[in-house]
């Protein structure tokens, strides 16, 4: 196993995912096999190749003007689990 239970617990916490006791061993096994698989990349000789983040990297990326275009809050907030006075309600953060 390339990953331990502690590793997976740490990753799950970073990703803000609750993982049940039952699920945990399955993820330790499957994530280990995925990490072993992608480790194949370590054999690749990349020399001084520039990393490529975008498939058309000759293409100029545009920036959109930084203006609010979607203003129909009531419509958007219809999908929210809990809203009061136009604000999203979450559990108390500051005691």
């Amino acid at each position: 196993m390339s990953l331990t239970r502690q590793d997976v617990e740490k990753i799950a916490n970073l990703a803000r995912l609750s993982i049940t006791e039952q699920e945990m061993p399955v993820y330790v096994t499957s994530l280990s096999s995925i990490v072993d698989f992608v480790d194949e990349l370590s054999r690749a000789d990349v020399g001084s190749v520039e990393p490529m983040a975008h498939p058309l990297d000759g293409q100029r990326q545009r920036l959109r003007p930084d203006v609010v275009t979607a203003t129909d809050h009531e419509n958007y907030q219809r999908n929210a689990p809990s809203v009061q006075a136009g604000l999203y309600v979450v559990p108390r953060v500051i005691e």
Partner: protein, 484 residues
């Protein structure tokens, strides 16, 4: 029968008023009602809106309007936001999500007068190659319901193969249009990255995702692609390139076309599958094309590269699902962290969680250089391989998948084996290239796909090559038994 007619033939009948869009829509709604329960290809049916849309199309037709998709019924993959209609992305997380706006693909087809019948099932958040990860249950392959239809656009592909619509939409991040198209015997097109707007298409891996089309024929796909392609200021990676008249390019002669046979695609390929590809090449030579072998030496690294890049981008994109603004929220969270963790833990299925965790791992401190940065470098090497190949040839061909459709349940517990299904399709996504899969024969009664990949923005040439192949062969006309 109406469901076997091409978009072009249907459009002609609609224009001559010998058929109405309402009649055509009712015909497909009837098929869906009768045939979908065994396939689970559709997860949302919008019958009333479809009939209203068809009636509106009929009024436009009556006024003499001649748009090529006016009144033609389609099904959208449930990854595209549809204003006022549930958009689930195959996930419990979005089971209750009613999109507040239309994706650009949806808006353009609406404007063209096409009629949406409903939304297609898919692998959860487009993560899967068998359509078995959907919250709404697996999709079955119409050719044999014990087999998978491929994924992630498995519902769109199965619906197309079962003739439940005249065309369907899909998305392709690592093969999610081409692979299911191959496994269900339909034509599937993944355009160049940036050719079709991603606005309103729920993001999985933003540097790879691209929207496309499933159709019975390349000619139909050309008509649909022309309608959805083009610059969109709402997508910052949309490319401002004029859209060619794809349908007008379909009949260009293939004389002098140079086709590259991808050596790496034949390593270990079962002889019967390889034979089908070689038979297809004979068709191309008879049409005047020449073939040479080409090699993409870094291609064998494409799957591990993809399974670093795609999960990394997915872990970032899916961080927006937090149980606060939309989507699933867990019961009685004890604090904000608990709300995040349980909403995500309960709202996402096992494969999505696996990808998010893989992505989180490869981006985490101490591993970023070894995995993510390394994968981005290998991505450039693979892209350069394609670039070099396209200096020698006009397009490259090979199989779309290593095997025909496999048994349901056969690979779902072994993610790496499942990931290797995409071995022939992933390269085009990493390099942002257009790819197309078209039916090229059968193995054990199941369809196989021939894949064409071309340089950036060569969709017209790919559709042309596919169309002339389809004029010379009849593989694309075969229907699964019970769906003729």
């Amino acid at each position: 029968m109406l469901h076997n007619l091409s978009v072009g033939e249907l459009a002609a009948r609609l224009r001559s008023r010998e058929l109405s869009s309402v009649e055509l829509t009712r015909h497909f709604l009837g098929r869906i009602e009768r045939l979908n329960p065994a396939l689970n290809a559709l997860i949302t049916l919008t019958a009333d809106a479809a009939l209203a849309g068809a009636a509106a199309a009929d009024r436009r037709l009556k006024d003499g309007e001649q748009a090529p998709l006016l009144g033609i019924p389609l099904i959208h993959k449930d990854i595209f936001c549809t204003d006022g209609v549930r958009t689930s992305c195959g996930s419990r997380m979005l089971d209750n999500f009613v999109a507040p706006y239309d994706a650009t693909v949806v808006a353009r087809l609406k404007e063209a007068g096409a009629v949406m019948l409903g939304k297609a099932n898919m692998d959860e958040f487009a993560m899967g190659s068998s359509n078995e990860t959907s919250y709404y249950g697996p999709v079955k392959n119409p050719w044999n319901t014990a087999k998978v239809p491929g994924g992630s656009s498995g519902g769109s592909a199965a619906a197309m193969a079962a003739r439940l619509a005249s065309f369907t939409t899909g998305t392709d991040t690592g093969g999610s249009i081409r692979q299911p198209a191959a496994l269900t015997g339909v034509t599937g097109v993944k355009p160049t990255y940036g050719r079709v707007s991603r606005y309103g298409m729920i993001a999985f891996a933003s540097s790879l995702d691209q929207a496309g089309v499933f159709a019975r024929t390349a000619a139909d796909a050309a008509t649909v692609l022309k309608a959805i392609a083009g610059f969109d200021p709402l997508d910052s990676t949309s490319v401002d390139e004029p859209v060619p008249d794809y349908p007008a390019m379909l009949d260009a002669p293939l004389k002098g076309l140079k086709i590259g046979l991808l050596q790496e695609f034949f390593d270990g390929l079962e002889p019967r599958n390889a034979a089908l590809i070689h038979d297809s090449l004979k068709v191309y030579t008879s049409l005047g094309a020449t073939t040479v072998e080409v090699s993409l030496p870094h291609l064998p690294l494409s799957v591990p590269t993809y399974y670093v890049v795609a999960p990394a981008e997915c872990s970032s994109n899916l961080s927006r699902f937090d149980g606060v603004r939309f989507g699933y929220r867990c019961d009685q969270p004890k604090d904000l962290t608990d709300l995040y963790k349980r909403s995500r833990g309960e709202g996402f299925g096992p494969e999505v969680k696996r990808r998010i965790m893989t992505g989180t791992y490869v981006l985490s401190a101490g591993y970023f250089d070894a995995y993510y940065l390394k994968a981005q470098k290998v991505r450039r090497l693979i892209t350069e391989d394609f670039r070099a190949a396209f200096q020698q040839v006009d397009l490259v061909v090979g199989p779309t998948t290593p095997t025909p459709a496999f048994d349901s349940g056969a690979k779902i517990d072994d993610p790496v084996t499942m990931y290797l299904n995409d071995i022939y399709t992933i390269g085009a996504n990493l390099a942002g290239l257009p790819g197309l899969s078209l039916p090229c024969g059968f193995v054990d009664g199941l369809p196989m796909g021939l894949q064409l990949i071309g340089p950036h923005f060569s969709e017209g040439r790919l559709l042309n090559a596919a169309h002339l192949y389809q004029l010379a062969t009849e593989w694309h006309m075969q229907a699964p038994r019970g769906y003729e």
